[in-house]
Amino acid sequence: MKLQVQAEPFDLGAESNAFAAGVLGAGAVVTFTGLVRDNGGALAAMEIEHYPGMTEKAIAAMMDQAMVRWSLADALVIHRYGRLAGGEAIMMVATASRHRADAFAAAEFLMDYLKSRAPFWKKELSADGAEWVAARDEDEAALGRW
């Protein structure tokens, strides 16, 4: 299990390869990557604030829950904070299991919890100024399925 909360960029490809290489017993690997979106033309930049200490604790608890609930072979979460440019990867999740249904479900579970229960806040920076991203009702509602 690997959990990293960092300001530095990470290499999605290298992380994916390293993760897949470490789960020989599992047949299924799912990754999710969140990217800074280009909002209709101009690439936006993003500033991500977090709550050091609580962030790691909250994510570790989610990962522990996922490992047990879906008997995962392994799980990984990397989440950045600080300033990110358009197109950069904000975060990634990876899960590995024997059959694909478990890896998919666990990755979605981790994403739903990360979105609404890990203490990160995104601010979008564009030519029009800076704006805190509002939480989406769908994201809160998504927690209901677990």
């Binding site: 709550y51 609580m54 904000i90 203490p119 991203v133």
Partner: protein
């Protein structure tokens, strides 16, 4: 003395990321009432509790939770990570 932390637009409205407070508040709600009574910037930050979350010693909690034994209180908007 209790550490009070603010994040995102709560931090921006209050103007500091953290402060140490001497309080006799029993619950989170009492602490908020104390702050709001103090200065307008707190009133502005705590105007709508539905759009706020609170963590006690880094665990999400409710506004009615008791503060006894708590060392760190954090106020912030709903999370938007991922």
């Amino acid at each position: 003395m209790i550490d009070v932390l603010y994040f995102a637009w709560v931090r921006e409205r209050i103007g500091v990321p953290r402060e140490k407070l001497d309080t006799t508040a029993v619950t989170v709600r009492d602490l908020i009432a104390e702050l709001v009574a103090r200065e307008e910037r707190y009133e502005l930050a705590f105007a709508d509790l539905d759009s706020l979350r609170v963590a006690l010693d880094q665990e999400l909690s409710s506004f009615d939770a008791p503060l006894a034994g708590v060392r760190e209180v954090a106020f912030f908007p709903p999370m938007t990570g991922g």
